[in-house]
Structures are given as C-alpha cells and as structure tokens.
Assembly symmetry: C2
C-alpha cells in the first residue's frame, strides 16, 4: 500500500487526497506538520530533499514529490489524466500555471493569513502583491471558464483538482470571488463530482498511520 505524507490543512496535500479518494485507491496516511518543522527532519529530508509535503512513497525507498506530479502518477491510466497529446499538454499548461501563477499567491496568502498566528502582520509587505497577482490569475481562470466547463480535455481532470485546491480556499484569505461568477459555478461543479471529499474531512478510504 502506498504511503502519503500529507498535512491536513495544506491545499497541495488536499489535491492528492482528493484524487486518491475519487479513484478509490487505499493508502496509508502520515500527517506531517510543516509548521512544527516535521518536513525538515533528517529523516524527512532523506525522502524529499526539498522538504515539502505532499510526498508519495510509490515503492520502498522511492518517493514522488510535487503535488501536481503526484496527481499524474496516481491518476495515470484513468479518465482523470488525459493522455491524448494535445489534451495532456493543455492539462499540464493549467497545472504549471497553478504552480507558477496561482499557488505562489493564493497559497502564500492562505498559509500566512490562515495557518500562521500573526502571519498577516509578519507578511504585510508581501500581501499586496499576493492580492494583485492572485486576482490577475483568477481573471485568467474566469476568462477560460466563461467558455469552458472544465480546464482541459472538455471534462473533469486532475487540472481541475490542482486549481480547485487553493481557489476554493481563497475566501478564507481575503479574496472576494463576487466578480468571478464562472469560477464560482466551476467550484460548484467540482464539488459535485462523484466521490468528492471536502478538505477538512478524512477520506473514508484512509488508514491512518501510527
């Protein structure tokens, strides 16, 4: 059985838990609290030198890092992962957009405003750029969703899972989605997918590690 190192309140970790739940894949879950430095112990750095969760052990001693790469691994060969050359490229396009344009802003705002006590004050100089760049990225998504129900391949895929994670948390860190009706409709469509699990609940397939 695969072991997933994850932090419950991490949007990047939630992506993988959501995909595994929807695919009905059982796994062993190890909670890693990055706020307590648990992703920077010598043991963890041995598994992922970049010191981040999520991390999936796919074979004894063999680990895959980076949430969106893990999504491709777990969803490979299922309808969630489009394998047609151009559909795959479009899904990847949105997943790289997510890690380069969306997550560094919405994810950073969520981390510092929601997870870290006093983070709003500590990061007040960066906050303006996260809002500005975050809204810019949301406008790119809104523009796409005005004409498309999903991000790639004309159906629900891991590109939607990747973008959903921090977008559905945006309201917790001051982003107002009031002027993004297409994004709000898409959030509802994603939440209505078969097997969807919310972020704050444990997927029922989990076997929690000791």
């Amino acid at each position: 059985m695969q072991t997933l190192y994850s932090m419950q309140r991490s949007g990047n970790s939630y992506k993988v838990r959501l995909a595994l739940a929807q695919l009905g894949v059982p796994y062993r879950l190890v909670e890693v609290d990055i706020l307590k430095g648990e992703s920077h112990t010598p043991e963890f750095l041995q598994m992922n030198p970049n010191g981040q969760v999520p991390l999936l052990e796919v074979a004894p001693g063999r680990h895959i890092a980076e949430s969106n790469a893990i999504l491709w691994y777990v969803a490979g060969g299922t309808p969630l992962a489009p394998e047609n050359r151009i559909d795959r490229a479009e899904a990847l396009q949105w997943m790289f957009f997510e890690q380069h344009s969306l997550e560094p802003n919405l994810g950073a705002a969520y981390f510092w405003l929601v997870l870290v006590k006093g983070g709003r004050e500590l990061q007040r100089h960066a906050f303006e750029e996260w809002m500005e760049e975050g809204y810019r990225s949301l406008r790119v998504m809104e523009n796409h969703l005005k004409r498309n129900d999903y991000f790639a391949a004309g159906r629900y895929t891991i590109a939607d899972i990747a973008l959903y994670a921090y977008t559905h948390l945006a309201h917790l860190s001051d982003y107002d989605l009031g002027t993004f009706p297409a994004i709000r409709d898409w959030l509802d469509r994603v939440a209505a997918q078969p097997g969807h699990v919310p972020m704050d609940l444990q997927p029922t397939v989990l076997e929690v590690a000791q």
Copy 2:
C-alpha cells in the same frame, strides 16, 4: 508548420527552441519582446490570456502555453519524454520544482539584473530572497546530481532541458556555482548532447517569420 512565439533572451523560450532543435522539428519563429509589451497586445492576449511567452500554435487558433507543458507536447513520443508511469512522474516532479522553486528565483534575478536597465536598483529588496531561495534550490539539485547523471529516467530528458535553461544563466545574475561541482558537470553533459544549441544563437532549422 507550427508557430512558436518566443523571446530570444527568455530562458523559458529557450527551453522550447532547444527541444525543437534537438528533435529536428522545423517551425516558424515569431519574436515577441515582452519588455516592449508585445505579449500584452489584444492580439497576443487573445492567443494567451496569461500574456507570456513561449507560446506554441499547435493547430490554427489552438495554442499551448507554459514552457514545460510545451516541452511535453513537442517531445511526446520521443526518448526526450519518459512515458513509463514512475519515470514520467519523476520528470514532472523536477519540472514542477523548476517552475515553483528555481525559475521564480534564478529567472527573476536574470530578468531584472540582466535584461532590465536599472533593474538591480529597482528590485534590491527582492534580490536577497532570490539569492537565498535560489541557492536553496541549487543545493537540492546538487544533492540529486551527486548520485545521478540526469534528473529523471536515468537519461537526458525534457526535465534536464527545463532545469538547464536558468541554471546555465545563473552566473550572469551573481550566483556562484563554485561550490556546486555536480551541477557544473551536469551543465557540461547537457551542453554535450547531440543537437545542442546555445541560447544566443538561432537554431539552424528555424524559418524566421516576417
């Protein structure tokens, strides 16, 4: 013939030109100077609402953005793109690492210190973080390259192309690779690959657009 919208001095654009040259794929090249706002004209935003190069037109009116997604598109079905499930995930892991941990630091430093006149002064507050986070990312790469010749699948792939682009420019923006011997050796191995083209020269297969 495919059309590539590219900026000659952009590391992200260079990735695609390098892969196309090594694969011997002819293409039409359109130079887009982002410093002159050419990626934010109404015509360009119609093709890529995110306003970035590189951008590849793969069919009339159909475009793929994000350099690393384009690499998967152009290299699909060739040895440069590992398709085995775990090899693909490892290549993707490093390509997401590149866009999330390396390019936002080394790429930003290159852009502001090398391409923008007065950029060093304008961005002096951000520079320290780019250096610190950039060196942290280089250490992760060095650690991997101490035990591996390439980043994924045990051979030269598009993961190497993605990471090479800004790493081979690092010395231009104050990074000192003196304490990274494994990275320096890897840079030499990449530059010695068949069909390699340097960034500042036009690949010979190009047909430059009017």
